[in-house]
Symmetry: C2
Subunit: 293 residues, 2 copies
Amino acid sequence: MDLKKYLTLRLSQVDKALNTLLPPKKTAPATMHDAMRYSIFAGGKRLRPILCLASAESCGGTPEAALPLACAVECIHTYSLIHDDLPCMDDDDLRRGRPTSHKVYGEGVAVLAGDALLTIAFEMVAKAKPSKRHPVSAMVAELAEAAGSRQLIAGQVMDIENEGKKFTPAKLQSIHERKTGALIAASLRLGAMSANATPKQLQSVTDFGYALGLAFQIVDDILDITQTSEQLGKSAGKDVKAGKATYPALMGLPGAQKAAALWTKKAHDSLKPFGSKADRLHELAAMMLERKS
Amino acid sequence: MDLKKYLTLRLSQVDKALNTLLPPKKTAPATMHDAMRYSIFAGGKRLRPILCLASAESCGGTPEAALPLACAVECIHTYSLIHDDLPCMDDDDLRRGRPTSHKVYGEGVAVLAGDALLTIAFEMVAKAKPSKRHPVSAMVAELAEAAGSRQLIAGQVMDIENEGKKFTPAKLQSIHERKTGALIAASLRLGAMSANATPKQLQSVTDFGYALGLAFQIVDDILDITQTSEQLGKSAGKDVKAGKATYPALMGLPGAQKAAALWTKKAHDSLKPFGSKADRLHELAAMMLERKS
């Protein structure tokens, strides 16, 4: 199966599972379930859940077993976007080409819709099947740590605290490892855990995830200054406007492009122990670097 | 042991466990871990975690086994208070006698501190030991459902949506079952699950929890109009000011007092199958009805 067909197939599996796992739209209170679905079904590329499924396959497992975990990761990602877009954070009106949650439902409901997606993510993990090496409790701990105050949330706090401040590349990297790398790594690790991964396999997908996450973030920074809002489906140039540190700002556009290529190479190298079993992960990494939005 | 000694002992166990389970104050980013601890160690009465421990004891288990679950429930409760107090929700400046989280740390960090406490709650559940009848995955699902979009969060959304609107007592009850009852019932159920409770025992503590939750909420409504802010440690009279439906508004003060007594009786009656093993739960229920703040 070529990559395009693979993506279409997996995206449709993830969307179908999300549709089943989320409460129906008219469940009371309808506003809440409408708001949760508005953000979840906003045309996201499902990169994290697809990485989760591909990671399970690389470790010899099935996408089906990884599916509740893939959906959980997407709920965490979507919740973090809803809260990041709030007026008290990045104050963004546009996301995935549509008005942000608080623009449509008001701030109160947007905060709660984020809370609800964060919460239901763990309900989804609870529905996963344990593998021999990895009980469900380890999967819950994995997701909670990646989404928690030392990883994903830490990245967001550091982002807020450092707006307009001087940056070293090392500092910027440590923010991105938390804001982007941790959840990508957790997506891969959870998929691997569902496939009964060995400690060595887990380490490989972890290294892959962090390197890929950094490459992904650098590409994001580059697109923010080289693409228009229409092309991106979100407000372009907002990082610069907010005085946020970015790779292009720190090392120039060619420097940032070089750094992205370097981290992408590191990502590919981490998968060596898998041999051809990781072909799909290699393809996904290449695609993520070459994207235009 | 008399009730006062029991409360002091259990409160100190819960506080000690929370101190161990939360990242140390200076963990980076320090602001975040400071904010999490500011709200968790704000002098709360720990009613929900103590109910969790007492429920475990009533089912023949130990408080020690229930402790991670008790801490998880308190983290959920505290996160919900931080988010409820935000300007876009109840807009409250005072909580447990101190400035609310967003007053101290700003709105962005307050939203994230709530997110972080919600997230770490599941990390704590993941640390619980399964009992024969109840795997950890069932405990995670239990907490996620009680805190989720059909229970705790539903109650908050219904609260926002119905401000200033006409109410029936049935409608008000359905809000309070979600906003207050669900988490109290989950506290008791999780304690019971850690103690390998039978389905019958689980049903009894569930009925007890919902009845107690309603009684508790009615008492809350009564205190809101009969006590001062100083006595309560939070803004008094705020429900009336916000045009919120309350039991005293719907049925007058004597009517509300009668309803509180009725639900308290129902709570006590639910515990009959336990006999004297539920003495502590009876005592706790009586105390919660007679409180002045």
